[in-house]
């Protein structure tokens, strides 16, 4: 899987660019970014077990495996969405969008036999082909994500304000 920072930047870029044509409120973009972090909770076991200084607790580590699979991501999105009150449907859509974008990004990473992991579980045990585009440890992955995000951030700011700097700084510079 790509690193968590790259994961959350992907829905930021996609939804911010989308918002140039269709209205996407900023607070929902942020919800999708959080959604993108949810499949990475699969790694929470490293933190939890690391702190407890144990390798596994009653097979709990096995149970974590569902987090970054299609079914698990969709269920977790729902578990979080119920805490958005009347807006749960919209919350679900954005959280699930973020989660699915992370799975898609993960599905592009290197596999020596050219096929990705069982990301579509439990829909199917079929391993989709992967272009083996990247390995997470390659700093160029994060570098690309950051560069594109900053470009989109500045372009978005320019579209909204007609200038790259926020009003305050711009007027201070004048």
């Amino acid at each position: 899987m790509a690193d968590l920072l790259t994961h959350v930047l992907v829905p930021y870029v996609v939804l911010t660019v989308t918002s140039w044509w269709v209205e996407v409120p900023r607070q929902w973009v942020v919800v999708a970014m959080c959604g993108a972090a949810i499949p990475d909770l699969v790694k929470a076991k490293i933190v939890v077990f690391g702190l407890l200084d144990v390798r596994s607790v009653f097979g709990v580590d096995l149970a974590f495996a569902g987090f970054n699979r299609l079914g698990g991501a969709l269920l977790l999105a729902a578990a979080v969405a119920v805490f958005f009150g009347d807006r749960w449907r919209r919350a679900y859509a954005f959280i699930a969008f973020g989660g699915l974008s992370s799975l898609l990004v993960d599905g592009l990473r290197v596999y020596a036999d050219g096929r990705a992991d069982f990301y579509l579980y439990p829909l199917t045990w079929w391993r989709p082909p992967t272009p083996s585009l990247y390995v997470t440890s390659d700093p160029r992955v994060l570098g690309t994500a950051l560069t594109v995000s900053i470009a989109v951030f500045l372009a978005d700011r320019y579209r909204r304000h007609g200038r790259l700097l926020p009003d305050g700084e711009a007027s201070a510079a004048e």
């Binding site: 690193d3 790259t6 994961h7 149970a63 495996a65 009150g85 440890s137």
Partner: protein
């Protein structure tokens, strides 16, 4: 939705995720088309000539003869695979994936060697970047949202 119902629904969904995860973990090897690491370790003779896929920590690399030694770990043990045709640039402590044909002596004639971590430090890099990402997204979220403890609902600030 009533607060109690909301918590109940969330708990059921989370239980469902852990249930799926357990099912996934116990059935994964049935669907994995290659021998498991445990099978390769316990009965290596049975899989000679078969296509295998292993991932593990690089112990040593001898670039002059194109051989690498990879420590393959599984739940109940570990073994060191000798990988011939090792053409990847990686330091001991790094992680590689090897796809190839199994040979006697727990060796693999590699068709493809892909570097997952070029060195031991790569893991720390991933964790640090991910921790920064987690803090960033949490801070951003609570700039736009707040949690109402009374209704257990996220509200727009």
């Amino acid at each position: 939705m009533h607060t109690f119902v909301r918590i109940l629904v969330a708990l059921i969904l989370v239980a469902g995720v852990f249930g799926l995860g357990t099912h996934y973990s116990t059935h994964r090897s049935d669907h994995w088309e290659y021998p498991t690491y445990e099978e390769l370790d316990r009965q290596p003779g049975e899989y000679v000539g078969e296509q295998v896929f292993v991932q593990g920590d690089v112990v040593e690399v001898d670039a002059t003869v194109g051989t690498g030694w990879v420590r393959v770990m599984y739940a109940g043990g570990a073994f060191t695979a000798t990988v011939d045709g090792f053409d990847a640039s990686v330091r001991p402590g790094g992680v590689v994936q090897v796809y190839g044909v199994f040979r006697p002596g727990r060796a693999v004639a590699a068709e493809t060697v892909r570097v997952v971590n070029p060195a031991g430090a790569s893991k720390a890099y991933k964790y640090v970047v991910s921790a920064v990402g987690a803090l960033f997204v949490l801070a951003l979220f609570f700039r736009y949202w707040r949690f109402d403890l009374q209704t257990l609902t996220f509200e727009v600030r």
